[in-house]
Amino acid sequence: MNEEEARFADDRSQVSRYLASREEQAFRELYRAHTPYLWRLALRLCGGRESEAEEIVQETWIRVSTLLERFSWKSALRTWMAGILVNCWRESRKRLRLAEALPDQLEDEATLPPGIELLDLERALAELPEASRAVVVLFEIEGYSHDEIGRLLGIPPGTSKSRLHHGRRALHGTLTAEGAIR
């Protein structure tokens, strides 16, 4: 059994335990297993704003708790939870009216050189405009395709590509300005 299969089996047994008992302790185990991942994702989507990330993670768990019985296990539990979290984040952005529009045209391809300090990269990521940051996080870190990102964020795949491009270019600019890359 590889690592992915082992995690899938662990997830199933943890969820079954919780759904069978609905006990607080079983929920806490589920929470502790997945929140470090959800927290990091929320934090990145929110550009490091902890209070906002906390609200999103809390709302995610409230929805997960309601929807868990209907989860069909066609994807990994974590992928499903990440989708819910992204939805919560999107709704939160709508409420705060901070959604940003970026041009859809794809220009020259922007790339990022390897060998950058992780802290610099994390900080530059947090400084990206909201819309680009979401795509960069979901594409580069979470490994979603542009089609999947399009579905998650409610945007066409082409827009996802162009936001990735703008995000990479902005990251490159920030890192160059800070002397992280030359």
Binding site: E24, F27, R32, L112, E140, I141
Partner: protein, 222 residues
């Protein structure tokens, strides 16, 4: 190495997990507890009486379904309440402090309960019976003119009152009025105009028009 490849390789070095704030777990658990998410499910043998009760409820529900009744918020247990703020500092540093305090209150004590809310600007007008707008004076620190509102979900009126009692603005000279929200769920529907509606004398009886109306009303009051 493709350009996408270089990006993913670089970002792949970033951690995928990090420890969340310790208080978050308690906040999530407390919220779920308040929503009744925890509790042992019925043992297998106890399902029969519950099923019978549910079927009886269904029959009663079908009978009652013929009686028009407005749908009410919320879909989840509990009710929705409007907190209407008034009084207190209206300008300068005082106003800034009240906004900060209320934002923090919303973020902590009211976490997960707020459905919406805004600060209201000073300008206002009251529309008289003749349809004319009469400008209203700007809110003063000691009057009851609304300065903002929150829509808050609470278990019942008592809990809504208790929560409102923790509002930090109360110590800053403001007051909070709590009003339950009765959601009529106005939707577009076809209504039949009554006999006397024609402005130009044209009989309108039986004419169907699309209007916004609360549920359960297929005719306008005649």
């Amino acid at each position: 190495m493709t350009e996408y490849g270089s990006g993913r390789e670089l970002f792949g070095r970033l951690p995928r997990e990090s420890p969340p704030p310790a208080a978050l777990e308690e906040a999530v658990v407390a919220e779920l507890r308040a929503r009744g998410a925890f509790g042992r499910r019925r043992a297998r043998g106890q399902w029969l009486p519950a099923l019978a009760a549910a079927l009886a409820g269904l029959v009663v529900g079908l009978v009652l379904a013929h009686r028009p009744a407005p749908a009410r918020l919320p879909a989840e247990p509990g009710g929705v309440f409007m907190y209407i703020f008034s009084g207190g500092p209206q300008v300068g540093d005082g106003l800034r402090r009240t906004i900060e305090a209320n934002t923090e209150w919303a973020r902590t004590t009211l976490r997960g309960r707020i459905l919406g809310g805004q600060k209201l600007l000073a300008e206002g007008a009251r529309i008289g019976p003749d349809g004319r707008a009469v400008p209203q004076p700007a809110p003063r620190p000691d009057d009851a003119t609304p300065t903002g509102f929150f829509l808050v979900r609470a278990r019942d009126f008592d809990e809504a009152i208790a929560l409102a009692g923790t509002c930090p603005l109360l110590e800053m000279g403001s007051s909070v009025t709590v009003r339950p929200v009765d959601d009529l769920r106005w939707t577009e529907r076809t209504v039949t105009l009554p006999r006397s509606r024609g402005r130009d004398g044209t009989p309108t009886s039986g004419e169907e028009v699309a209007l916004l109306a609360p549920p359960g009303r297929s005719r306008l009051p005649g």
